[in-house]
Each structure stands twice: as C-alpha cells, then as structure tokens.
Subunit: 320 residues, 3 copies
C-alpha cells in the first residue's frame, strides 16, 4: 500500500489490517514514552491547502509518535488556484527529499493527481466532497471498539450526504466491513444517485431509531442554508436532529458519532452531548492519532506493525 | 503542583523552589548540548489564542530543552469568540492525548476554566488583565540574581497598573518573596482598590528614586491614550518616564526592568537603555527559558530537579 | 567562517570547501536514516521577515538533518518597519539562547546589520536586491555536478539583472569558480554599472546560444511591467525567452537553470521544461538541502565535514 487516496481502494482485509495496527498503536500511546522509532529518518510533509487545525494536529502527533520528521507546509489556496501552480509547488516540495505528503485540498481528486506527479506516498486528508479516508478509518475504529464488530450492524448516516466527503468515505468503509448502512436526510441533501454505494435511503429518522446500532450525524454547513437546500436550522432539527427525545428511542448499546465541530441545537442537542455516554465524539478525536499512525506506517514502514517475529522485541517496537 | 494559573496560588516556599530549579536549568543551558530528557514522551501544546511571538518562542524552547514534544496550536480568537467553542476546541486538542497546555487568552480566567474542563496540566501564559505568572517568575529570577534576595528590597512598579496582568502577577510574586512594593502612576491607571495586595501607592516617581532597589516599568498601550486615560505620551514621560536624569538618581545597585517591547521615549528613554548596565531587559528575556523549564518540569515531571539522589547522576540529568 | 552574508566574502577555496562538504552531505541524504548528529544541541532560528515557503522549508530540513533544533520566527514585515524595532526583535530572540539565525529581509544589508547587533551566526537567506548566497551555492553545486567544473565554462545569466539578488550572488560565485559570465537582458534591466563584477554584457541572447555551457534564466517580476521597464511579457519572450527553438541551438551538454517559480511562456517555455533533460530546476531545489547543511555546518560546526580523522568514523558521522 503506497498511498491512501480513497476508502474505495481498500478491501475488507486491508481495512481490518489497518484497524488491527491502530489497536497496537493505541497500546503504544498508553506507555510512559508513547513513541516508537518505526519511521525514524522519514520526512512527512503536511500539505494543507485548506485550513484544518484538528486534522493537521492529529497527523502531526501521529507522525512524531512514529519518530518521523514533520514539515508543515501551510498554503493559502489563493496562490495555488491553478493546477499548474499546484504541480510546481508539489514537485518543489518533493525535490527537497520527502517520503510522504499528507494532502488536504478543496478540489476533489487533488491528492490523486499529486500521486501521479511525484514519487512520494500520498495520504488524502480530505479533498473537496470526494473522500476523507482517515476519518472513515477512525470512525470504524471507534465503532469496532464499542460494538465489537461492524458485521451486520445497522448504521444511519444523517444529514448532508450530497456534499460530504465524510459520508462518502464512511458509506464505503462501513459497508466494506459488513455493516448495513442507511443514509438519512432531506431529498435536497441526498446524492443524485446512490447506485455507487450499497446503502439504503430514508427521508425520516424516526422510524429507524429503535433498530440502529449507531447513528452518525454530519455537520450542517451554513452555506447549504444560503443555497436554500435546507429551509432552516430549526426545520432541520425538527426532522433530523438528535434531540434527547430521539436519543431515548435509540438502543442502549447504540453509538452516537459526529466528526465535529458540532452545531449544538441543529444536528444534535446539547442535552445529548452533555449527558449521554453513548456519544463517542471525543473517542473519535482520540482515535485519530493511532489510526493515522497505522496509515503512515502502512504507506512508509516495513509492513504490518510490529515488524519482526511476534514473540521477540522488534526494532520498530524499541522505545525511542 | 498540577497547574500554574496564578502567582496567588503559590506560597513563598513554592516560589523559591521554582526559582531554585530555574537556577539549575540555567546551568543546563550553558552545556554544549543544552538539553535534558526530563520530559521525554510528554506532549506540550502551545495554545495561544492571542498573538505572542516572544512568550511562545520562549515556552517552545523551554519545552524542547526538556525533550518534550511541542505542538503549536495557533488560533485567531475570532473563530473562538464563544466560551462554548473554546471548550470544544480545548477538549478536542486534549482528546488527541496531550500532557500540558500552555494557554494565552484575552479573557481573564480562561486558563482556569480550561483546567476544569480537561485533565491536562494548564500553564497560564497570560490571560486578559488577570495574570501572567511566568513573567513574574522570570522577573523574580532576574531580581534575585542581581540583588541576592528580594527580602526587604523596595521595588516600584510604574505605569498602567490597572490594565496590566504583569503588574498583578509581579505585585504578588515580589511581596510573597518579601519585597516592599510601591505601585506608581496616574490615578487613572491605578486599580479601583489595592486592598487585595500588600502594596503602597504613589502618584509621583521622583520622591522614591533614591531609595529603590528596583524599578519595574510597564509598557504604555496606545489604546489607553484613545480612552483618554493618559493625556499624552509626552505628559506621561514627564511625570513617570525613566529619563537619564531620573536614572542618575537611582542607587548604583538598582535594577531597571521592563517586560518588553519598550516604547522608547515614553516609559524609558533610549539614552538609558543604550548605556545603563542596570537595565536588565535582555536578562529578563534570557531568564524566560530556564524559568519556563522549571514550571513545565514542576507540573509534568517527577518533582524537584534534579530527580534522584543529589550525589548520583539522575535520569533526568542524562544528556539526550 | 562565522557568518554567510555575501558570496563576495568567500574566496574560491572556501566556495570549493563548501561545495565539497555539500557533496558529502548529499551522500548522507541517500542513507536510510538521512541524518547526522553534527549540530545536536544547537538552536537555529528561521527569521523570515519576508515570505518564502521554499527557502524556509529547505533550511528547516537542512537544520533538522544536522539534528539542530529549529525555531520558526515568522514575522510580517509591517510590524517591523523601523530599524529600531528590527533590532529589538532580533536582540530578544537572541537573548533566548540561540546559535544561528537564518535571515530573509526585504532590506538590502539587514542580515549584515543583524550580525553587528548580536553574537549568533547569521546566514543570509535573501536580502532585498543585494544577495542570496545559498541560492548561488546551490546553483554552483548543480553546475559543478553537471559540468564537472565551472573553470572556463561560459554561463549566461538572462533577464532582470538589476533587481535580482540571485543574479548578484551568482555573478560572484560563478566568476570566483573560474567561469566566464555574460549577463543578458534589455538595457532597462541591467545594473547602472557592471564594473564591480568581472562579467560581460549582451543585449541579445541569440548570438551566444551555440557557445554556452549553461543558461541561467531569472524570474520576471510583474512589478517590472508596471514600472514600464519591460514593454510586455510577449516582447520579453520574443527577445530573451528560452523557447524550444532557442533550446535546440544550445549545446547538448548545456545546463538550463532557473531559481523558480518559473513564469512559463515568459522566460522559459513549457515545451522546454516538460521535455528537455538539460533543465536542472528540480536538481536545484534538491541541492538546497545538502548545500544549506554545509553552510550551517561551516558556521556552527567544528569545521570541515566529516570532523575527525578521514579514516575513522567521526562523531559527526554517527547516525542519530
């Protein structure tokens, strides 16, 4: 596995291997010195052409805990509006001698293009409405930890499916791992066709609540209101928001996820986030570091972690 | 000591212990490799919600010389104007697995609030008009080095006391360490009441000059002029500025401090800063690194530095 | 060699020693862990008072591969428009305990001034129209690798000589290393006098093409158009641009250089950059890291690299 561009490129075995390695890295993070020398001497560039403090910090920590060198390349998208300039920029960074580039870009497909231009490993950290594969991996990690397995589980993804890279990546990850997925939202926020995905569609959340193993709430973007795709936040909440009343109708074992930051009082109520232990939002954030360690290790390291025989201390395991 | 939120939380013994450890770290900084592995594997986030190149760089260097990992979290305060968002942001950073958060915020009390929200050690790097405890510690460090002890020394703090977190923290640190403190400035720049502090008040600097062991000049902020709290910079200088003439009337052993950046020709004249060896401004900057090492070590490390028996090389002393 | 302020300060032996060390560091960069502990414990501040992602990233990587600690000090030039403030800023950074400062500034001579104010090693990373010595070193490195030696080689530097620090530094480096240099461009873009340099002047590129060993194309800045120093980009290209037709008239062994970013269709055509292996632009970027390692090592390290006896592993050679 040289790149991570899309969940679609991964089969169930590879997804599972990544999650298994993330479990091992999560154990590393509980040690007094939570680091391994696995990527010592490797250079990872964080090329965020779109702002993202959370995802960038998470990749930054993940790379350092693997002992990689991290270079931040923050770029306003304005100076890179032409594909030509993006290519020049990326080729220039690559020429300095780097091993992996973590790319966030507002254009769908930009990380894929970059993987054709340069020889480094490319990790997609979110591209337009297309994909956000490490988000889907960390969400799968949390659901697997809370539910044991995704096999046969029923997960609703609720909100603005059409404009969400998180929804796209999660539909693919959850179904590949054996879950039954229903996407829920008003027709204006559904993709034109769902035939690329093995999912069901619903326009009402209420009938599903009692049978869900997980509900995944997406963030409502205010620009959707401006585009008149949603009548109002109040209207959205009344039909699709996870109110305390709706939360009560979820099974006790159900998991409540949101990629953050949450619009309290729109897709989820404060009463739910404040008191309901089924809310896994901070678990999702915490999962970001070991999951991204697993991804960087798979694209740059010697293979599965730990390297070497299972019974003996492997070089990748030595504490830095 | 889990947090450093306010000088008020520290008794004289703790203040002295911090300054003693800062002395030891100052010695570390003279070595050819000026580092110790004391905080290896610990992650320190610099969460500056208000710009500060100087204080941030000083904490950054301090954390690295202790071998901690440092993550910069730079945030425009605009996107975090609501307390709710600040909490979300802070909880998200914490969920990534960090040990300490160094916080600067324009709201008084923000670091204290954050210490209730998350389990990490919080170090206040300046909050509104409230406190700037590491500044007071580094100032105390410099005065103790230059004067031997603060016990019984007379220190004037001059300028805009009312709107200065530096003044608040220093009044508390200097008096706790046994100094006699007089705050000096026009009535418009004095706090409404000085009863919380064991200090004297004066509205003229001249009568005090001959008996001072130290004069601490605060920076005049231009917005005070806009608020008509000061008639003009010229007027302020004529009554409170440290001119060469006033400097001549200070004792030879007196120390002249300023937290920087200085308004030359307002609170202090260039003639003084250029030629007078009693000016300790660069000593104050230099003290920032060992003092902040001591603070980070106290909140995150195994206790006093060096750890272990005094006579044998302690693990915290080994060079990285 | 304490500072690197200008190519003019270096004699041919020192230039050659730097390039020889850069060759050795280029070998280090091919190792599986491309680092040496040569500058362990040293702190390098990147003080870029003018934006530069490329040069800054290159210095950042160079310093880390030498195991130095790197502190980024990014400053908008606006807050530092007065020389007085620059001095305060620089003295403050220095007081925190740093060993070298890499300076980019829009004012010619700023790095030289700074070297008089503070005791750290200063490396000029580009100052106004004055000098960009590490660019000239990396260009010389690439030309020496491709041509064997610069001795007796004929190099044309083409474009806006008058306003280019790259041109100034390269004229001096190339001639010091024994090359014959011709500067080529319209009269409006030539320096008022070329007597400080041992170079020839031409106002047409075409007659030279067949005899050149290298052609160095400078970037046309759009502000020169605004100042009516160039009639139009089209006019510039027709007289001085490296079109495919002109490239065909260059010798097979000739090297085509550009400091980047390129204006395709102005100083060089896309047809040339896309297909012509004589174009060395990415080699130039790649050379930046080992050349800047050599520079930092010369100003901060124990002298020539590797330190110690040639036949035995030197401490500077040990892998970190």
């Amino acid at each position: 596995m040289k790149h991570l561009l899309s969940i679609r490129d991964l089969d169930a075995d590879t997804l599972t291997a990544l999650l298994d390695d993330a479990d091992r890295f999560a154990e590393v993070l509980t040690r007094s010195v939570p680091k391994v020398p696995a990527l010592r001497g490797k250079t990872v560039v964080l090329a965020f052409f779109e702002d993202s403090t959370r995802t960038r910090s998470s990749f930054d920590l993940a790379a350092r805990r693997l002992s990689a060198d991290v270079v931040n390349f923050a770029a306003g998208s304005s100076s890179l509006s032409k594909g030509e300039s993006l290519r020049d920029t990326v080729e220039t960074i690559h020429a300095m001698g780097i091993d992996a580039m973590v790319v966030r870009h507002r254009s769908s497909g930009a990380p894929g293009q970059i993987s054709e231009w340069i020889d480094a490993s490319i990790v997609n950290a979110g591209d337009g409405w297309h994909q956000h594969p490490t988000q889907a991996l960390l969400d799968s990690f949390v659901l697997r930890r809370r539910l044991g397995s995704l096999e046969g589980r029923h997960i609703a993804i609720v909100g603005d499916i059409a404009h969400s890279r998180v929804a796209r990546s999660n539909m693919e990850a959850f179904t590949a791992l054996g879950a039954r997925v229903t996407i829920v939202g008003p027709e204006t926020l559904m993709p034109a066709s769902v035939s690329p995905w093995n999912v069901e569609v619903a326009h009402s959340l209420d009938p599903l609540l009692g049978e869900l193993d997980a509900v995944y709430l997406l963030r409502i973007q205010n620009e959707r209101l401006d585009e008149v795709l949603i009548p109002s936040n109040r209207e959205f909440r009344s039909r699709f928001g996870l109110t305390a009343e709706r939360a009560r109708r979820l099974p006790d074992h159900a998991v409540i996820c949101h990629p953050g930051p949450m619009n309290l009082g729109v897709e989820i109520d404060r009463e739910v986030t404040a008191n309901d232990t089924r809310v896994a939002v901070l678990d999702q954030v915490a999962a970001g570091v070991p999951v991204r360690m697993a991804v960087l290790y798979h694209v740059l390291g010697p293979g599965r972690f730990p390297a070497g025989d299972a019974g003996t201390p492997a070089s990748a395991e030595e504490v830095v």
